[in-house]
Symmetry: D2
Subunit: 346 residues, 4 copies
């Protein structure tokens, strides 16, 4: 049994890591770190986990650092992870960092999108972007996996098979997200009377997750536009990409690309053409699971393509991919502890 520490454990992504570990056959949550809730039972922050962790209490950072662990999950705000990564790596622990601190490879990109130079630029080189569908072998060899932006991972998984084929001329991405993406801290934007049933666009052109998308798909900013809409949903991300293809294609060519990319993936599926109402995926079908779905429709002109992808932002878009990466780093079966079937309708 591998021992794990979870930092940021009173937050939403941290809580989801705990939910996964509660039933994980080979990784045990040894400590749940929360400065603000030190000493409180974990279930006070995550009441759904009371039966899973009847006795676990949040521990202070100092206490946590006294524990020897095999793997640490850092579900922290960006800017606060890097020092802990250094510390844990120096002790020989594996690290899955859910923050944005080591997602980008280039220090100058980091500075551009996060507004400050990275505290430990050497970590950017060392980290593997924590999406096993793209970096499976590297994750098996590394001790440091980055987390993934939920919007980024959804977009990347949707577009990856096409990016490799140099088909993407112009990509207009619309991402819709649920309220859990913004975390556990109340704001005027998350206030129920205003947030409920809103269709609020935010950060058009300049959402940070765009940087991850560009990096992982090796695309330039000139050809990718990203806008975000907060919609009435708690969990879930859906990407719609309106694509101009570099050349006219036949539908069979697109199918072939998705088949090649995802036929053997444990958690990513592509939607068949029939039934047509299920062809473009809905995150509602994935709630609580580590699964992602992709689908597409090609215009009869052969150059306009709509690609849609969906996932649960707290699972495949955060905690699920982190545990999947941890499994790989620890030499465990990649899917272990991640077999939750979606809860639908819910």
């Amino acid at each position: 049994m591998y021992r794990a520490a979870v930092w940021g454990a009173s937050g939403m992504a941290g809580g989801e890591v705990l939910r996964i570990l509660a039933a994980h056959p080979s990784i045990e949550a040894l400590c749940a770190v929360s400065r603000s809730r030190e000493g409180q039972p974990v279930w006070h922050a995550h009441p759904h986990l009371r039966a899973s962790f009847p006795d676990l209490t949040f521990c202070a950072p100092d206490e946590a650092l006294k524990q020897e662990v095999d793997i640490v999950f850092l579900a922290l705000p960006h800017g606060t992870s890097a020092p802990l990564i250094k510390e844990y790596l120096s002790r020989g622990s594996k690290v899955a960092d859910l923050s944005g601190d080591v997602r980008l490879k280039s220090p100058s990109d980091y500075e551009k999108w996060y507004g400050a130079a990275p505290a430990h630029p050497e970590l950017l080189e060392q980290a593997v972007y924590g999406l096993p569908e793209l970096h499976r072998e590297a994750l098996k060899e590394t001790s440091l996996a980055s987390g993934v932006g939920c919007n980024a991972s959804c977009s990347i998984l949707g577009l990856y098979p096409l990016a490799g084929a140099e088909l993407l001329k112009d990509v207009r991405i619309e991402v819709r997200v649920g309220s859990s993406e913004a975390g556990a801290t109340p704001t005027i934007g998350s206030h129920h009377p205003y947030r409920s049933r809103t269709l609020r666009l935010y950060e058009p052109f300049r959402h940070r997750h765009l940087a991850e998308i560009l990096q992982e798909l090796r695309l330039s900013e000139e050809c990718v536009t990203l806008s975000m809409t907060a919609v009435e949903m708690i969990r879930g991300v859906q990407m719609i990409a309106h694509i101009s293809l570099a050349r006219p294609v036949k539908e069979a060519e697109i199918w072939k690309l998705y088949r090649a990319a995802y036929s053997d993936e444990p958690f990513v599926s592509f939607c068949p053409a029939r039934p047509s109402h299920l062809r473009l995926p809905d995150p509602k079908l994935l709630t609580g699971s580590n699964r992602a779905l992709t689908g597409f429709v090609l215009h009869e002109d052969g150059t306009r393509l709509i690609v849609v992808s969906a996932l649960d932002n707290l699972m495949k878009g955060a905690a699920g991919s982190a545990v999947q990466s941890a499994n790989l780093m620890l030499g465990l079966p990649e899917s272990e502890g991640l077999g939750m079937i979606p809860v639908y309708p819910a």
Copy 2:
């Protein structure tokens, strides 16, 4: 044209007073008071009012006090209204106080339910409880109308015809409320991921609005129980009262009581027996309007009665009743400016 000042104008009840005054033929919103938003356009806080008030900005309390007004609406937290009431009454203005400061007649009741002695106990005597259905004539004569608790007004309107007939032996009230009731300030309880689709019971037995219900219906605490549930809804209050009657009755007797009470009321209706699916009212049917609905079903044993009532908490449960009271105090037609038809489905 009567001139009005609205205090607490950046809050939800204050915003709703402004929405009503925007189209009121005889009362004009002269100033909208907000300490925190002084100088900002009103539509920054209430973006739906941009076309109605393109140029009105929030003014500071000091500025507001320099204005001469005929009527003032105080949409303030309890404890802060009383001094302003004194001030405005001394100037000869009419006052509709939406806070809890002058709803209760007895200073000891006030102390019991609000946890502090009233600042100006003489105002309690002077104020008329702002529900025209119960106090129409007194409202025409007074300069000071209290506001009404939204849960209280819903419950009172549902039970009033029965209370007068001394039929109520035991009353178990379940009230369901939307998120707008808690106002415009974000809290952990209003955070969308937690608030959305919750069924959260709160303050069983001891919600403050119970005091108003007991006072207005002249019932003792022994025979009335109140519990509250926050449900997925923004606007709306619904009361379900499970009643044990003092003696067996026939349905016709109940009909007669409701008919006598509400046949001539401009804003309160009782639901007929048919169609049966509309017999027990749903606040969804009243959104945006100043209307209230009541309905009942009598058990065949003649002693068990379920009474249901519904209203829009921001309108009939707050701003609407306040304007209705203001109309009476100013000698205007009672329904003026309050004819909004419900928006349904919405």
Copy 3:
């Protein structure tokens, strides 16, 4: 007082026409036609209208045709309006047809998008597209106004100022719609457990409303793509257009176009740049009103533009525009009866 007949009066758009007419100072709903609900009180279908129409019952088509009316609103499925239009025009009534029967000017377009030749092609020529912002003068002269597709009207109002300036090179439109758009008849797609919190894309590339958009904006199908998503909302349409401009522009140029188009419009506003969170409009701000909002953000490259528009699909997207057109046809003030202020938050 002009007398009106409303056909399809038990449906959602028909109900909304009735809601408007209930408070219209110059048009009276004389008869509400519904074959399936003949003889029933109108409020059985529209319980929110009980206080407005306590006694009105639905009448059969035959009965309706016996009544002499000045204006008729046809809220019927496409294919069923045309014969009634002929009949009413021959009697000298004005007609506002909310169906799709006379929205397109070209019979071949009609056949392409509706799958059948138009029953009365001469009506296509005669009808004026019922969006006063584009056809105000023509509407004053005609006896026949078409309705508008809710998605079409939202898109057209958002893009119209740009289309006239020949700025639109490539337009990718994403429209999000609430469940009221699909009308009052239950289907598996509208079944609450499946419809609630869905993000269901439908009819990518080939939604019928695209035909109206192309016609009114005089754009070719090559440069406009439309996809639709059903989202968790009852009322409301929001359009997001990802636009490639024909040439780089400065923001001031775009402002100027919107200002020129909409500064004097009674129901269409454009959002100012500040506050930034209100720059791209949310239909939540418009519930129950006849208003539309537009907004935009220009990429720093000067060629990528995001335009967003929003309206209430039952009001400005259907019944509201129909009454606005009727006002023009009847020589009444255009805004009469349409001054409802949005209900927010709701």
Copy 4:
């Protein structure tokens, strides 16, 4: 591996049985019966199960009857199960019947609440009510377990510890249910624009599940009142019981009763007094799991008690309890396959 047939497999409860069996270590779904969807892949009806059952198709009733199975789940409308129960019992299969056909013990009760005499009254005697918390030992011995009404099971679990202590004098039960309770068939009542955010009371005094409550708690109809409200939620049942106790009690006595009843239960928990906001349970905390929660607050007068209980109607209120009963009938560990952790927030 035990082989199972699931009848009514295209419905919601049937789909939930399939979701559980998909990961059950000892029971395999051999056939999924649906007359209307014969030959279709199971995932067309239950798209969230595509990865779990990529190849399983619905089979016709005739086909199903050719298969030898160890256990059959009948998720059928009442009135249609009884003949199949007879058939399967005669073959030596175990039967978990989710319909209402064998929940009541008395044929006259059945006739009273279901409006027809039971087709096979001898089955009523033979069946064990499928709530292991009340009938664990009997379920181990029987071949026929009834299902449980979701509202009934929620109410029974909440009140059972008190009923045994003869404390219940008068019980007013308010149950709130999500839309999934009504099944997979669209109706006007489930139509999203009307169902969403409704608070619709239905069947006051006479909901069928009351019969189960009375039977299992051994209470008389005179002292129990049940009303139901459809609320905005897909999954979930919450019961609020306003209770008049037979005599004044101290809180410790109530705690003792719940502790005795549920301390060792694998799926039922009672909420501690702290933190107070979690004292009265919310079904939102249980989504997707087989767990139930109970909680209470006692009035200071010692005789008024509010009891609240919650569960996921498709799981503990239907499919979960059915599989739990099946585990007992088959001699498997009672909790096998039912360890799903709630998905929260969702």
